[in-house]
Structures are given as C-alpha cells and as structure tokens.
C-alpha cells in the first residue's frame, strides 16, 4: 500500500466556520486535480471502451518530464508543464496506435493490455530513474491568507492551470469538429462511423488527449509531492473512484465526481484521518456500483 495522498493541513482553525472554509478550499484544490485525471480516463473509456490501467503511469511520465526539464535542465516551470503535457499526449498516441488499437471491443484483453503497459512503464521508470523518491523545487512559495482559509500559492497555481486546461478541453469538445466527432463516438461508435467519423483518427486523438491531461496533472503535482516510479498509483485509484462516482464515459460526471471526492476526502481527512477518507471513497464506489452501476450521471444502458 502506498501512503495516502497527503492533504494540505489547515494552518488556522480558529472557529468552526474557518475550519469549514479550510476544508472547502483544500477539497476544491485536490478535487480539481482529480478532475484532470478522471477526465482523460473517462474520455478514453467513452471513446474506445478501454479501461486505461496505465493512466497513473502517464501521470508519472509527466512527473519525470518535470524532473528532467524543470529540475535538471532549468527550464521555465510553466513551459515545462505545457511541454510535458504535450509530450505525454504524443506518447499516448503512440501507445494507442501501436498496442491498444488491437483491443478495441475486446474488454477483457483490453484491460489486461492496459495493465501490461502500466507494469512495463512502471518497471522501466524504476530501472531508468531508480527507486528513490526525488523532488524538484517549488516554482512559487508562500500562502494566500483569505482570512477564513489559507491556500498555498503552489496549490493555487495548480488550481489555476487546471481551470485553464478544463476550459480549453470543454471548448474543444463543444465547439470543434473533432470534439463533436469524439462526443458522437462516445454516444454510439457505429452510428458515428456511418456518419463518416474515422475511428482510426478519433481513437488515437482521444487517447492522446487523455494522456495529455494525465501528463499535465503529473507535471503540475510534481513540485508539490515527490517524483518516483509508483507516484501514479494513487492518482489512478482516485480516477477510478471519480469516474465510477460520475459514471464511466461521462464527462460532466467526471467533473462532478472529482470535486465531490475532493470535498468528501478533505472533510474526512481533516476530521478523522486520510485512511478513513480513502476507505470512504472506496465504500462510495461499492455502494454506487451496486445501486447505480452507471454512476451518478451515467447513461442507462
């Protein structure tokens, strides 16, 4: 078991409403990263019907890209995040066209193939970068004191970046032809193909965008946590939980689920412990899968 993702500890807890404000702001900051992970995961599932067990490893690649570009080569941090995200996105296109392409429509083998990719990437990173946890300096330091709550600036940067990425992603899906094609494939891949949407183009594109989001999340979180080959396991777990809360393949569901999980975890982590928070997350998954197998916003079959 990896250690639970540490929550930002509240610095000031003068009153009950202040504690609540701190829980809310912590929850939102964590939730936004969950959304970033879950969006890519759910997009890949929606378009290709493949459960991407390698999603956490794409996050890890984003982290290592930051270690090299920002930590070792001294690039500008914001440029690093953009380059890392697009680099991991391209890598995702490659993975899809070389390996996962053959498993579309074959659920069981597709899941096992994604597992194989995850294992290979993790072991590869372990061999190349070593098992030690490494870190990069924080690009910004200090905290923003809102009176009722305290938000570290670096988390604020992550939150801001995430919002920009989410807006761009939403614009892409709603207002571009490719986005329209992607939504069409998610709804009904056969009908979309009949209408001239080429799966050979949309599938790598969707996998690439999903990878880009995961790589971006990894690059954003790299200065906040440590960088090591297993760093993607926990975010992938969170992505699982989130997409099940929201419904596999549902984009609004991923946003809602991510924020919900962030807030719920923040509450239980502050009031009890991070383990209790993790347990609650999994318990939620089990309850939801049993009573609403398609998630809160998922379509009924």
């Amino acid at each position: 078991m990896t250690a639970p993702w540490p929550a930002v500890l509240p610095h000031c807890c003068a009153g009950r409403h202040m504690l609540l404000a701190q829980i809310l702001s912590n929850g939102l900051m964590t939730g936004l990263v969950y959304v970033l992970m879950a969006l890519g995961f759910t997009l890949i599932f929606g378009v290709m019907r493949i459960v991407n067990f390698a999603h956490g490893e794409l996050y890890m690649l984003g982290g290592f890209a930051t270690l090299i570009l920002f930590g070792n080569l001294g690039w500008n941090y914001y440029l690093t995040v953009v380059v890392a995200a697009f680099g991991v996105g391209l890598f995702g296109v490659l993975l899809q066209s070389l390996l996962l392409k053959h498993f579309i429509g074959r659920e069981l083998s597709g899941m096992i193939m994604a597992l194989a990719i995850a294992i290979t990437l993790q072991a590869g990173a372990n061999i190349i970068f070593g098992p030690e946890e490494q870190s990069v300096p924080r690009p910004v330091t200090g905290v923003l004191d809102l009176g009722a709550a305290v938000v570290p600036y670096d988390r604020l940067v992550v939150g801001g970046f995430t919002l920009v990425i989410l807006a761009a992603f939403w614009f892409f899906l709603q207002f571009t032809r490719w986005g329209l094609a992607m939504r069409a494939v998610t709804q009904d891949s056969e009908m979309a193909a009949v209408q001239g949407v080429r799966p050979g183009f949309i599938h790598p594109l969707a996998f690439g965008i999903g990878s880009l989001l995961a790589g971006g999340a990894g690059a954003l979180m790299a200065p906040i946590y440590t960088i090591y080959s297993y760093m993607g396991e926990l975010p992938m777990l969170k992505a699982f939980v989130v997409v099940i809360l929201g419904g596999l393949g549902s984009i609004p569901g991923a946003v809602l689920g991510g924020l919900l999980l962030g807030l719920v975890e923040s509450f239980f982590a502050t009031m009890y412990s991070t383990t209790v928070a993790t347990m609650i997350g999994f318990a939620l998954v089990i309850v939801i899968l049993i009573f609403r197998p398609r998630g809160l916003l998922g379509r009924t079959a």
Partner: protein
C-alpha cells in the same frame, strides 16, 4: 498407458526433493505449487468472463483466518486450514449475489475497490490483523501432533494441494457444470432461455474460486509463518492474470504451464526486481498481441497441424480447425 505415464510423472515429482534436497529448488517447487492453485482460481473467474481483482483479498482472508484460528483460538491445523478457504468462500457468497449482477469493466473496478477495502482493513484493524507489520510466528502445519518442518515435506503438501486443485478445476470444466458456465460466458441470454439459473452457477463458480484462493492463502501463511497486508494487494491478482495469459486461458493446463514458467523468474532475477517486473510486462504484451491462446494454445495448434499433415486430407487450415475443436473438447 496414459495413466501409467501420469502416475510415473507424479511419483517423480513427489520424490525428487527427497533425493536432491537443495533448499532453494525445493522452495521454488513449493512456490510453484502455490501459484498453480492461485492461477487456477483466477482461471475459473476468467472462464465466467470476469476479471476479478478481489482475489488478492480472498487469498488474504484465507491466510488471516487460518493463521488467527491456530494462533489465537488454538484450533488444530487441518481444521484451521480448511476454515481458511471456507472463510474466503463465505465472504464471496455474501458479496457475490450483489457483485455478480455487475459485468465486465464494472465488475473489475468493483472487485478492485473491494480488494482495497479488505487490505485497508487488514492494515487499520491492528488489534486483530497486526496492521502493516502483519502476523508473526504462525505455527507450521501439524497433523496428529507431528509438526511439518522439513522443506521436502512442505513441498509434498504443496504438490498435493496443486494436483488436487487441478483435478477439481478440470473435473468442473468437464462436468455439466463446466459446460453451463462456459455457455453463460458465450451467450447468457440463450443459456437462461433454456431454463438454467445462470446467476446461481456464476455464484457457485465465484465461491469455489474464492475458496481456492483462500486455501492458497492459508497454505502461504503456514509455510512462511509470517504474513502482512501488502502480500494481498493489487499485484497478487495481476500476477494470477499474467500466469493465465502466458499459459493460456482456455484450458486448466494453462495456469499450470504459466506458473511453472513464471514462478522461477523472480528467483532467477532476484537481484534485479525491476527487471522481473519489466519482463512480466513485456511478456504479457507479446502474448496478448501474438499468442492470445497462450503456450497451451500454441502447443495445441502445433499438434493439430502435425496431425493434419499426417492425415490424408492434410491441409494447414484443417489443422487450425482441428486445434480449435480440440481446445473446445479438452477444455
């Protein structure tokens, strides 16, 4: 003739550690037996078309149940060991009716979450399960006051356990029950339309599979005399799947072949654990892409070709067809 050969092979398998008592090789033999049983339990799940990540948890439940029964309650080993499998099976029977309503990807994710909750319980409930440190000093197996301490004796136990598991799983597949669960995976609607209560069959397969994992866990606990929660996490069911894919899913021989090949790998690459994991990943990819029927499937295909070439109407296509038919018949 075939029976004689089987008996001869079994006798050979049972006898070698007593002649060549090298702790390292005997230990490897024990681990192979354990993994054959674990992979067979996963094979049952794959046979009903479901990928279960809860099998690490079932193994853990069996391990902790048997260990705690002997340590805290002083229950004799044979009964504790049996109760290990039964504990896992009862949990499966409890959650199965709900879990098995859910299919495919959702089932995989649900069992994954369930497995994590069980492991977190082992970690958090320190008074009972010993937390992250696990349980120490689990007694070695004993029967009628005789304690099993020598490694070859353990190996015999492992061999018996693996062979019995294999015979049980094979008997299931060859029985009407096996035909039913295969047909459920092929076409559940059609199966139900002829009056077969498909959910009950799936539940039975799930429970037996969990029991097998539980007994494997109990065996593991009493062999190592030490267990900790991390042994029952996500990677345990993943290893069971890897063994199945490499050996071949379509036949109970698949898990046997897969375990015999894969279990020595960590021992050979002992000093380089990362390379072991890397080779798992790469092997898995190669097999999924090029040998989806696994080694047993490959062997069957070659045998089919060879027979087809010998027979009068020997054409290569016929060999493939025959291979497929044989796979169905033998599986």
């Amino acid at each position: 003739m075939r029976l004689a050969a089987a008996v001869l092979i079994l006798v050979g398998l049972a006898a070698w550690p007593f002649i060549y008592d090298q702790p390292f090789y005997v230990h490897m033999g024990v681990m192979m037996g354990l993994w054959v049983a674990l992979a067979l339990s996963m094979n049952l799940m794959l046979r009903i078309g479901q990928l279960s990540f809860a099998h690490g948890a079932f193994m853990g439940l069996g391990a902790y149940a048997s260990a705690l029964a002997t340590m805290r309650l002083g229950i004799p080993f044979p009964i504790a060991f049996l109760s290990g499998g039964l504990a896992a099976a009862s949990v499966a029977a409890l959650v199965g009716p709900i879990f098995l309503r859910i299919r495919g990807v959702y089932f995989a994710l649900l069992t994954f979450a369930f497995g994590e909750v069980v492991v977190l319980t082992f970690v958090e409930w320190v008074e009972v399960f010993g937390g992250n440190n696990g349980l120490f000093g689990i007694p070695k197996p004993s029967l009628f006051g005789l304690q099993m301490t020598s490694r070859p004796a353990f190996y015999l136990f492992a061999l018996t356990f693996a062979v019995l598991s294999f015979i049980a799983v094979r008997a299931i597949y060859n029985s009407q029950f096996g035909a039913v669960i295969t047909s459920i995976d092929d076409n559940e609607m059609l199966t139900r339309s002829i009056g077969i209560d498909a959910p009950r069959y799936r539940l039975a397969a799930f429970c037996f599979s969990a029991a097998l994992a539980g007994w494997s866990g109990a065996f593991y606990a009493h062999y190592l005399t030490f267990i900790s929660p991390e042994a029952f996490g996500f990677w345990t069911p993943v290893n069971m799947v890897v063994i199945n894919v490499l050996g071949g899913i379509a036949s109970p021989w698949g898990p046997v072949v897969g375990a015999l090949l894969l279990v020595p790998l960590p021992e050979i690459l002992r000093d380089a654990k990362e390379y072991q994991v890397l080779s798992y990943g790469i092997l898995l990819m190669i097999f999924l892409l090029f040998l989806p029927d696994g080694l047993v499937g490959l062997a069957r295909r070659w045998r089919g070709r060879w027979r087809a070439a010998r027979s009068a109407e020997g054409r290569s296509a016929a060999g493939l067809e025959q291979g497929k038919r044989e796979k169905r018949a033998a599986a």
